[in-house]
């Protein structure tokens, strides 16, 4: 192998690894705060990507309608949960966030889809739609189960994944789609060619990681989220609602997923079921980070990306196998190094 090929593969690996890093960070965040292993993360990726691609192609994405439908469901859950102490302000707030907001977004989507909107509008709409889907899914599928075991939450998570994947087939069809590049143009440095898209990927990933770091380190809500992850009872005793932390975590995870999708879809053709495998690679990184460590997850994600790039060059038939095989030595080491962890009781 010569250095040029190696540099190419490294570059490719880092671009993919950056996206896996974002997804891995979101998985760690959601797990730490809600104990949910977020399998539908991959669907947030495909929904984001395909909503963006559909809008850019002037088609109406079904996800906007799904957001409204889920919003109505979330509203019903809110009403049911508060049935003993209903008051006007609560109902009004629930209507605004769960029904009015997705209805407005749906109207905007219908309006813009008809006239091939500019890239920025497509991105904004896709992000908002997927963010709402993430938020409402938490309300419907996970918040009512918040007190149950990790295993129950995992099963719910698998269910949500399957449902979303099926709906993805319904909304986007079996054919793959590609979206327009966020940033066109390119330049070369030595043997390497940097496209606008790969620069976008690096830039957004770094910006997001810095943003998350600032959010968790400096803001009261960021600290509240960490507090919930560290000690759920302690957080409740200072008045932090577990549901609020869960909502913020799901909101961040769905936005990160959708953003990753929007960054990938100009590079690779995505299908309604492509997200699962992409999410799984973020998951491999998160597992290597022990589902707790953010920096370890980010580094592991880059390793996953690079290993994937090299294995697709040398043994492309086995590239997924090789990536997932990374898990075995890591799990082995972890099980030897750490004492058995009992599942949390609450």
């Amino acid at each position: 192998m010569n250095t040029t090929i190696m540099l190419f593969l490294l570059q490719d690996g880092i671009t993919n690894g950056a996206i896996y890093a974002l997804l891995g960070l979101a998985l760690v965040l959601v797990f730490a705060v809600t104990r949910v292993i977020l399998i539908p993360q991959g669907e947030f990726v495909t929904y984001g990507a395909l909503t963006y691609a559909s809008l850019a192609a002037g088609q109406m994405p079904g996800t906007a309608k799904l957001a409204l439908a889920l919003g109505i469901g979330a509203f019903a859950f809110d009403l049911f949960a508060a049935r003993k102490a209903l008051h006007g302000r609560l109902i009004l707030r629930s209507i605004v966030t769960n029904i009015v907001l997705p209805a407005i977004v749906l109207a905007l989507t219908v309006y813009f889809a008809a006239q091939k909107p500019p890239v920025a509008v497509c991105i904004a709409l896709s992000l908002v739609i997927v963010a709402m889907i993430g938020l409402f899914l938490y309300r419907i599928a996970f918040q009512p189960l918040a007190h149950t075991s990790v295993l129950v939450l995992l099963i719910a998570s698998v269910g949500v994944h399957l449902a979303l994947q099926g709906l993805g087939l319904l909304f986007f069809g079996a054919e793959g789609q590609r979206g327009p590049a966020v940033l066109s143009g390119s330049f070369t440095a030595g043997a390497l060619r940097f496209t606008g898209q790969s620069i976008t990927v690096y830039g957004i990933t770094i910006a997001f990681i810095v943003g998350l770091w600032l959010f968790f380190g400096l803001t009261l809500y960021g600290k509240a989220l960490r507090a919930t992850a560290v000690n759920r009872l302690g957080a409740r005793l200072v008045g932090i609602r577990t549901t609020l932390s869960g909502q913020i975590a799901f909101l961040l995870a769905s936005v990160i997923g959708a953003l990753s999708g929007i960054m990938i879809v100009p590079i690779t053709t995505l299908y309604y079921d492509s997200g699962f495998l992409i999410g799984l690679k973020g998951f491999v990184a998160a597992i290597i980070g022990g589902l707790v460590s953010y920096p370890l997850t980010a580094v592991a994600a880059l390793v996953v990306g690079i290993v994937e790039a090299f294995s697709s060059f040398y043994a492309s038939n086995y590239k997924e196998v090789i990536v997932f095989m990374l898990l075995i030595p890591v799990l082995l080491l972890r099980s030897l190094a750490a004492p058995a962890v009992e599942e949390e009781k609450d």
Binding site: K84, A85, L220, K223, A224, R226, A227, V230, N231, L233, G234, A235, R236, L237, V238, G239, I240, R241
Partner: protein, 243 residues
Amino acid sequence: MSALLSVTDAHVAYGKVEAVRSVSLEVGQNQIVTIVGANGAGKTTLLSAIIGILPLKGRVSFAGQDLSRLDIEDRVAMGLGLVPEHRELFVTMNVEDNLELGAFRIERSKAKASMERVYTLFPRLKERRKQLAGTLSGGEQQMLAMGRALMGEPKLLMLDEPSLGLAPIIVADIFRIVTELRAAGVSVLLVEQNAQAALKIADQAYVMELGEFVLSGKASDIAANERVAASYLGFQHEGASVL
């Protein structure tokens, strides 16, 4: 006469086992009320139910409002604070962040002043404000847990075994601070195994045995009661620790 906290005919059960039976209690404004009793009497269970961690059958009202439909977070926002036995600190965060989060439901402009007050009460915490909560000593963790609860500007602070496992000098410090809190207008509901120390600073006292209150009255009367002296204060003059 209106009590700040009033509990009427409370029952608390773990599944089918009733850990607290038909308990009634009142805490007035500017009062220290203590519940003393042996390990397993149901004291911690009762506090957990008052804050809303465990379901309680019976009536609980705080500052004139019925608490039965409110969850923990609402009760905290109303000014009911609990420092639990296991402290439940945010161990991977530093002292200052722990305190800041204590004021999560308080206006941010007020939080700064509250933090200064907590630092005056516990100067040790100020020295360690950038240190992770998990690396503090037991006494410092207890101070931080109390400080965090005080950041929420509670009208009533419930303390569960604040002296457990701490050196006598630190225990004395913590009891002194409890009396200072009363002077500052915070009522305290104190659950203690260290009955002698608790009865010394309390205004009212309840004695709990096997999930029920067997005695109640002025703390000084309870301390003088023969039965209490025999069961809870008995070994004191021989220098051994209190039950």
